[in-house]
Structures are given as C-alpha cells and as structure tokens.
C-alpha cells in the first residue's frame, strides 16, 4: 500500500519551498466554481473577489506546502482564512440574520477540536478530513462574522466569547511545555527551529496577530454601526 501523501504534499525543505505550488485540478475546479457562484449572489463584487483571491492564495501558494513542515505556517494559514477571508466574505454576502451566540459557540468548538492533536493528525491522513477542517472552520467563521455584521449591537457577548476563547487557546498553546503534534517533530528541523519553538511561534501568532486582526474587525464593525445609525432617519422631526 502506498503511503498517503497529504493534500499539500510532503513537508518541503526550505530550498524547494518556493517551487511548491499546489495546482490540484479538483481544488482549481472548486475555486472556479465557487467564484462563478459567488459572483452571481454577492452584493459586493470587490470584497468577494478579495476574499476569493485570498482563499485561492492560501491553498495554491507555497504557504500550503509550508504548513506541512511548520505548525506556525499552518496557524498563519488558519488566521488569514478565519480572520481576514471570512469577515471579508461575510461583508460581501447579503445580510444574514443569525443568532450570534450559537454560531460563535459552533466556531469555538470547531476551532478547539481541529487544533487538538488527534483531529489535527487526521487531517494529514485524509484529503476528506483536511477539507472537512478547512471548510467547517471557514464556513463557521464566515457565518459568525455575518451574524456580527447583521446585528452588531447584539453581538457583543458573542464577540467577547470569541475573543476570549481564541486568546485562551493561544495562551495554552504558547505556554505548553511539550510539542503537541507528532507530525511536526522532525519536519521543522530543516528550518532551524525546534518543534517546541515552532509551536510557541504558532501560539504567539494566534495570540497577537490573530488578536489584532480580530480587533480590527471589531473596530470596523463598531465604526460601521455608528456611521449607519448616525444617518438621520427619513421621518426627522422639525
């Protein structure tokens, strides 16, 4: 039986990294289909194109291969997917009235689940699991930001929960005394980075870069809410 090759290929060496683009025909077909469908339904073509281009970049570019070697690269990919592409896509969709708290809880559960050792390992053993991870994370994050956008004033507890759980996970990861993911035990060595240092980098990026991106989204939502609410109503009094 052939050993399974993960979706993004075997862990690359630093020298070959920049040549490792993932031109998977199914991926490309899926992206084209998503673009066609999205452009039909989006209300904001620019934002949708931006989100789509970022998603395409995250999976086609060498970042995908790098994430096979470095857990920190994988985390960077997930941060960009859930905290940049997802809110951008949410802003390109028609307003969805979803209850913010349940969606935020779903996102939290998925986020913790997929980064725990066993499920994480599973994503490296099957394409199906790999895509289940990314689609569920991306989908739940998009729905969550769509819910925040639709009713920002009612989303504050859910946003607080999301900020808190992302930070908590990042803290645990940063301060963990041993590496979690056996997959990365040897893959980080060519990058002159121990697996623990790689994991600490991943945690700190999640904590800080993730935190700041989340804040930027919150700040933007707050500003939009204030500016929209500030427009005087049509039935203004004398």
């Amino acid at each position: 039986m052939d050993p399974y090759t993960p979706f993004c290929g075997t862990p690359p060496l630093p020298t070959e990294l920049l040549t490792r683009w993932t031109f998977d025909p199914v991926l490309i077909a899926g992206l084209i289909a998503a673009f066609a469908i999205g452009m039909r339904y989006t209300i904001e073509r620019k934002r949708f194109t931006g989100a789509w281009a970022l998603v395409a970049f995250l999976f086609i570019s060498p970042l995908c291969a790098a994430s096979m070697a470095l857990f920190s690269a994988r985390v960077a990919q997930h941060i960009l997917l859930t905290l940049v592409a997802a809110p951008l896509l949410a802003a390109a969709l028609p307003k969805l009235r979803l209850p913010p708290m349940p969606v935020a809880v779903v996102f939290a559960v998925l986020f913790w689940f997929w980064h725990a050792p066993a499920p994480y390992q599973a994503t490296l053993e099957s394409d199906l699991t790999y895509w289940a991870m990314h689609l569920s994370l991306f989908g739940s994050a998009t729905l969550m930001f769509a819910a925040f956008r639709a009713t920002p004033e009612q989303s504050i507890p859910a946003a607080a929960l999301t900020g808190a759980q992302l930070t908590l996970f990042a803290v645990v990861l940063t301060l963990a005394p041993t590496p979690w993911h056996s997959w990365h035990m040897l893959t980080t060595i060519p990058y002159e980075l121990g697996p623990l240092a790689d994991q600490q980098l991943a945690g700190a990026m999640m904590w800080v870069a993730g935190g700041l991106l989340f804040l930027a989204v919150i700040g933007k939502l707050a500003l939009t809410f204030l500016q929209e609410a500030d427009v005087p109503p049509a039935k203004s009094r004398p």
């Binding site: 504050i156 005394p177 600490q200 700190a204 870069a209 935190g211 700041l212 500003l223 500030d230």
Partner: protein, 849 residues
C-alpha cells in the same frame, strides 16, 4: 401616535387591579416630597444616585488623601541616603498600602462616584435603574476599605506589594494576617465595582430620555459603558485569584504550590488578566470626562465622535489580550516576546485615535483657559509622555533593563496621574458647582493646577533618571554617592509641591461652600443635560423628561433653554401613583418602551452590606460562627429587599406624543431587570472562565500532576451532565411561561421541579467529586473549586426558584407579573451551561483510579 412603538408587547391592556396588590406609593406626599432625601440619620437609608454618588466621591477622595500621605512618607524616607525614618518592614507596609489604596479604594470608587452621579443626569433619568444596588455597593466598598485600613491598627498591614505575588504572599512567607486583610478587604470592596458595572450597563442601556439613541448619547456614556463591560470581565480573574490564594492560606489547598503541581505564575496570569484592563478601566472614564469637557471650552462638538467611540470599543477588547507584557521577565517563550512587544506598541493606535480627536477638537475653536481646561491640557501633556515611556517599555530588551526600577515607577505614575488624577481634578472643578451650587475660585484653581503640574513633573521626571541609573523600586533606603542622592531629593521636593497643590484645592473646596459665588444656569455653557437645571438640581433631576434629538441638546434644542427648566415639556410630568418613576427605553433606539418604577429609601442595602461585612471580617478573625451569623443577616436583608410586590401588569399614560401609554416594568427581554441579569451573568461567566483558565493552565504546564490526579466518578459526572440539560430545559420553560403568561399553577410547578433538579444536580456533583482528594494536587483543588463554584450558583438558583414558588403560593403574584421568572430563567440557563461544562470537564480530567 397610534400605538406604542414597542410592538411585540406581551402585556395586554391595563390591569389596574394588579396595582392594588402593590400599595407602595406614598399618596400623602407631593411629587417633590416623594423624591426628597430623608432627613437626619435616615439619610443612610437614601438610595438616590446623587447621595450615593457623592458618598463615593467623598470617600474615594479621603482614601486618596490617606494614600497620598503614605506616598509622602515614602518620599521622606527616600529624601536622603541611609535614612532611618522608617524601618524596612514599615516601609514595605507603607508602599504596599499606598498602591493598594490608590488602585482599589481611590481610583475605581472615584470613577464609580462620577458614573453614579452623572449617568442619570446626562441621559435624562431621575435615578439609576437599581438605586438600592448602588447604595449596597457603596457600603460594601466602605466596609471593605475600613477592613483594609484597619490592618494598620493591628500592625498587620499588607507588605507584599500591591500585586501580592505568590509565593511571597503565601502563609509560608507571610505569616500573620496581613495578606488576609488585603485579600478579604479588597474582595469585599470589589463587590462595589462589579455591582457598579451591572448598574452602569443597565442604566445606560435602559433608561435614556425618549429619542436618545445609542449614537446620540453623550460621549462619556460610551466610555462608561465600555468601562462597565471591562469591569464585568476584568475583575473576576482577580476575585478568583484572591479566593484561591485565601483558600490556600486558610485551608492549605495547594493552588500555587509548585511541589503539588501548582504554579506561582498562575497568580501572575490571573492578576495581570485583571491588572492590565484595570489601567484602561481607570483611564477610559477619565478620558471620557475630558471628551465631555473639552468641547464645552472650545465651543464646538467633539471632533470624530464615531472614531473615538470605536477606538474605545476596540481598546476594551484589546486590553484583555495583552496582560503578558507585564510578565516579560517571568520566562515567557522567547518566540513570543517579540510579538508581544509589537502588540504592546500597537496599543498606541486606539489611544492615539482618541488623543488626535481631542487635539483636533482643540483646533476647531479658541479654547477658554478655565481651570478645568488647564487640567485637560496637563492631562494631554503628562499622559502623552507616559504613553511614550510605555512604548519604550514595550521593547523587550529595554524592558528587561528597566524592569523593577524607578523607571517603571515613573512610567506608571505618568500614565495614572496623567491619565486619571489630572482629568479627575479637572472634572471636580467642572462638576463641583453642580454638587454645591457655588463656583470655585479661578485664581486658587490656577495655583492648584500649576503647583500640581510642576510638582508632579519634578517628582516623577527625575524618577526616570533614577531608574536608568539603576535604582530598584521598593527598597527602603540606598547607599550614599552612587548617583541617586540628588535625584531622590528633587523627587521628594516635587512630591511636596504636588501635595501643596492638592492642599490648595481642599482649602478652596471648603472656602467656596461658604463664600463662592452662586452658580447660574449652565455656568460653563455646556451642551449636556445635567446642566439643564440651575444647580443644585432638584431631587427628581427632571420635572418632565424631555425628548432628545441631538447629541448636544442644550446647544441644539432651543425648547430646552428658552423657559424655566421645570416647565420644559416631556414625559411623566404627572405622577399617577405617587411613586418614583422614570422612562425606560429600547437599548438601541432609545424609543420609550416602559415606565420604570424606582425604589424609595430603604434600609435593606445597608443591612445586607453590614451582614456581608460581618461575614468577611469574622472570616478574617477565624470566628466562623460569627461568619455564619453575618451570612444570615445578609440573607435576611436580601430577602427583605426582594420581597416586594411586583409593579408589572399595569399601563400608565406617559404624557408623551398623543397620549402614549406604556406598561410599567414591562415583562420583556428588553426590561432593565433582564439586562441587569444578563450583566450579572456576564460576570458569573467571567468568574467561571477564570477557574477554567486556572485548570487548563495547570493541566498545560504541569501535565504530570494532572495525570496523577484522580478522575471524578464517571457515572456521577454523566448524571450531572444529564441533569444540567434538564435544568436548562426547565429554565427555558420557566422563561416561556413568564413571557406567554401561562397559568400561575404551572409556573409554580415548574419552579418546584427546577428546585428538585437543582438539589439532584448538587448531590450528583458532590458524589462525582468524592474520589478526588483536593489536597493531593493543585489540579484536584481546582476541580473542587469548580465544584464549589457551581454549588454556589446552584444554591442561588435554588433560593430563587423556591422564592418565586413561595410568592405564587402566598398569592403575591397575579397573572402578567412574570419578571421574576423571566430573570430566574436567564440565571438558571447560565447555571445549567456552567454546570454542564463542569460535568464535561470532570469526564475528561485526571486519570481513572
């Protein structure tokens, strides 16, 4: 106006029969008398926000003076090298108490005082929505402060620094009661902070004048709202940390004991998880007061309201992610340091947005250089410098160099005195005329400002240099001739000049009460509603509550200022039932949705707080029978407090529009009581999350001890999980019935079933935990702490559900008075969620034995 703007109103038409059940009005009194402050000693029963607010301000200011004197003692000791004025133990007590009092008993209560006093006046309400809670919080603060201060009498003042690091503060290294005085007293005082948070959230969201949408609120309300949410989430980690540390000192549970899998760094994480937001909690209200005063003296609205508000909201979130930068020297992973460093410098972005809004406002017109304005300019100067040294300290290499030196002392005083004390004095000069009806002296005020400004900079600028020359903080004395002598002497001189400035303020304060000129209407030409009446404003704040169309009502709404204030049109001019009332609004739009009944003077807050103080003080003295008596008194006080007829179920005319009638204390999720309950639940979740964090942290950094810990009994953990689901379902049904006005008998049945479920759940948790020895490892102790926390929630739920059942059984409730059950439902659901999470944690933690 054909119908109430409030459309899914579940309460059908008037039910005046219900009102007969609520004979709480005082029909023999006029409107003015209903709102009057009770005379003589009965003033202690007053619940008015203006009485309570002034009490907070005065008490806070007295603590400020006490802590200030302690600071002067520190400076006297450091005046010359090898000084013997204070011995090192006394010196440790003095600097610890200085920091503790300034942070917990001055800064936070002072901002609470301003919030409690100003919120109703600025949003057009006659009182806060939970006046008794405000009075209760004040007494908790007062008694807690007295406990902390009394430690001096027993020569047991805390001496471990204001952040009480373990292991220094464990019983092994701090014998006696000094750390207990700190932990118990401060925890009691913190009750005031969290109750104030609930109060502020509910008041700002639920009692604004008709038409005051969120975006038409005075800017200070945004600052206070964000601050209140930050208190609700930021104080719980410290409360949990304090309780864990006290449990370790009192019961010997090994939370921080490294030999049993505890970790001293857990304390630092919990402390700074509170401590970092705390800085913003202190700074934001002060910045909000600046943002209120600045436009007045420039004569133009604040530049960039939307940007300032979103910057404040962003800061609220940001402040919770950055506590680790107080811990650079604790051995955090090297990989993370540069990222924290970068993130810390980025705090400057949202702060900068606000400061630029202030500066841009200044450029809009020619500012009047009044005394409050001088203090604002002083704030800008000092705070910006403190911010810059903050950016310096964010750089890890510099941080490690300056760590624990006087450079840090200089930085934190530039931030806190610049960011809080200067704006606060500006605010006092600005609002004292509102308190007393007389103006303070411009001349003396300028003297006060310049003495404070020059004295401050002399004292604290030098400390940067002393610190860079290597002087560590918290040393009682230093040798001669290593370059610290002259700088220290200058700092001491500066500190006394600063104190002289404050003395001038105090002298002027007493002077102006007798001979200051009377304040006319709107003496500063301000735009916000608190200046609508000529100070001192009558006890009811607003004879009729005006409709608001502008963010600057006194500038933009001529109908408010072209006639005597008492004749301004508005809601609730007619009081039907001789009750204290105000208008309740939709949290977002500000449209009126209910008439909100407010309590009259009552002794129950004082009794409850007194009982609680006895409980805390007796625990400190190890007199546990007395603790039980204190707890009982508190419970009796609380029961008397809430055993009152419901006001819901009737509809009254408001005097708004064309005969708009609104329900009294509407049974709805937008009710102030429901919003307040949600605020409380937020605090409870934050407490629970702090415990979860403690468990996760220990499991993460000490995995071998977590492995050694016995796992709770699986079968009972499963039963607990199942019972949590049942409790959730019952609570959901409680809420449904309350909103849909199902029969009272059904409601009582659900209440009783809920009680049964709660008792079963409590027992099940107890049996689940039995195999776990809390003294075996820190991880096991955290498991018991979680169990104890859930048990406390269950006890409250049980009391509440039986209370509601009893009320129905004794005929104290009529159909349509569903608020208590609606609130219980929210609380029960939250309890069920936390119990469920705990049960799941018990299923996976530890190792089966």
């Amino acid at each position: 106006m054909t119908d109430a703007p409030y459309d899914n109103n579940p309460v059908p038409g008037p039910r005046d029969d219900a009102y007969d059940m609520a004979p709480k009005g005082e029909p023999d009194k006029s409107f003015e008398e209903v709102w009057a402050t009770p005379p003589g000693v009965k003033v202690l029963s007053s619940v008015s926000h203006r009485v309570v607010g002034k009490r907070f301000l005065i008490t806070g200011f007295i603590f400020f003076l006490i802590a200030g004197v302690l600071a002067l003692l520190v400076r006297l000791q450091l005046l010359v090298s090898e000084n013997t004025f204070l011995d090192s133990e006394t010196y440790n007590q003095v600097f610890t108490m200085h920091g503790t009092i300034m942070m917990f008993l001055f800064a936070i209560p002072m901002l609470e005082g301003f919030a409690v006093y100003l919120i109703p006046l600025m949003i057009g309400a006659r009182d806060l929505v939970f006046p008794r809670l405000g009075a209760f919080g004040y007494y908790c603060y007062l008694f807690g402060g007295i406990i902390v201060l009394s430690s001096f009498l027993f020569d047991a003042a805390p001496a471990g620094g204001w952040f009480m690091y373990v292991p220094l503060s464990t019983s092994q290294y701090t014998e006696g009661l000094s750390a207990d005085f700190w932990l118990i007293g401060i925890t009691l005082a913190e009750i005031a902070s969290v109750t104030a948070a609930v109060e502020i959230i509910a008041a700002i969201l639920c009692s604004r004048a008709p038409g005051m949408s969120l975006t038409k609120m005075p800017i200070l309300m945004w600052y206070l709202l964000v601050t209140a949410f930050m208190i609700a989430i930021g104080f719980p980690p410290l409360i949990i940390g304090s309780i864990l540390l006290e449990a370790e000192r009192l019961l010997g549970l090994p939370f921080f004991d490294i030999s049993l899998g505890g970790d001293p760094l857990l304390w630092q994480h919990l402390f700074w998880l509170f401590g970092h937001p705390e800085v913003y909690i202190i700074f934001l209200p002060a910045a909000g007061m600046v943002a209120t005063m600045l436009p007045v003296f420039v004569g133009k609205p604040l530049f960039g309201y939307g940007f300032a508000v979103s910057a404040v909201i962003t800061m609220g979130f940001l402040s919770f992610g950055l506590w680790a930068h107080h811990m650079f020297a604790t051995g955090l992973p090297i990989m993370s340091l540069s990222l924290f460093s970068a993130a810390s410098t980025m705090v400057a972005v949202p702060t900068g947005v606000q400061i630029f809004c202030f500066i841009a406002t200044l450029t809009l017109g020619k500012p009047r250089l009044t005394v409050p304005m001088l203090f604002i300019l002083g704030f800008l100067f000092i705070f910006v410098l403190g911010g810059l040294t903050g950016v310096m300290l964010a750089a890890v290499p510099f941080n490690l160099q300056a760590h624990d030196s006087y450079f840090v002392v200089a930085h934190l005083h530039y931030v806190l005195i610049g960011g809080f004390v200067f704006p606060m004095f500006g605010a006092l000069y600005y609002w004292v005329p509102h308190f007393t009806g007389r103006m303070m002296s411009e001349t003396l005020g300028k003297w006060a400002f310049w003495l404070m400004f020059l004295g401050f900079n002399l004292a604290f600028f030098m400390m940067h240099l002393t610190g860079l020359r290597g002087m560590p903080r918290r040393i009682a004395t230093y040798p001669e001739g290593i370059g610290w002598d002259r700088l220290n002497m200058l700092s001491t001189v500066g500190a006394f000049i600063l104190a002289a400035g404050i003395a001038v303020f105090i002298v002027d304060f007493f002077r102006h009460q007798r001979s200051g000129p009377k304040t006319g209407r709107d003496p500063w030409r301000a735009a916000t509603l608190e200046w609508l009446y000529e100070p001192r404003t009558p006890g009811y704040n607003f004879r009729a509550i005006p409709a608001i169309r502008s963010r600057e009502p006194l500038w933009d709404q001529p109908e408010l200022t072209d006639r005597p204030a008492a004749e301004v049109d508005g809601a609730l001019r007619i009081s039907h039932d001789h009750r204290r009332e105000t208008i309740g609004c939709d949290p977002v739009t500000g449209e009126p949705i209910q008439i909100l009944r407010l309590p009259h003077p009552t002794w129950f807050p004082l009794i409850s707080a007194l009982g609680l103080a006895v409980l805390f003080a007796a625990t400190l003295a190890s007199l546990y029978w007395l603790s039980a008596i204190g707890g009982l008194i508190a419970l009796i006080g609380l029961t008397g407090w809430i055993w009152e007829p419901s006001d819901s179920g009737v509809t009254r005319e408001t005097g708004l529009g064309e005969g708009l009638s609104l329900p009294v204390n509407v049974v709805d999720r937008k009710s102030h009581l429901h919003v307040g309950t949600i605020g409380t639940i937020l605090i409870l979740y934050a407490l629970f999350a702090s415990l979860l964090f403690a468990g996760l942290f220990l499991w993460n950094v000490q995995p071998e001890f977590a492995q050694d810990t016995a796992r709770p009994a699986r079968i009972f953990a499963l039963v607990s999980a199942a019972l949590s689901v049942i409790l959730f379902a019952l609570s959901w049904m409680t809420g449904r019935r309350a909103l849909s006005q199902g029969s009272l008998a059904a409601g009582m049945l659900i209440n009783l079933l809920t009680g049964v479920a709660i008792v079963a759940l409590g027992l099940s948790f107890f049996w689940a935990l039995l195999p776990v020895d809390p003294y075996s490892t820190a991880f096991a102790a955290v498991g018991w702490a979680m169990g104890a926390y859930v048990a406390a929630l269950l006890a409250v739920s049980l009391y509440w559900t039986l209370f509601n059942a009893l009320r129905k059984a004794t005929g104290n409730v009529v159909l349509g008075q569903g608020l208590p059950d609606l609130l219980l439902a929210a609380f029960g659901k939250a309890t069920a969620v936390m119990a469920g999470i705990t049960a799941v944690a018990f299923l996976v933690a530890g190792t089966p034995q």
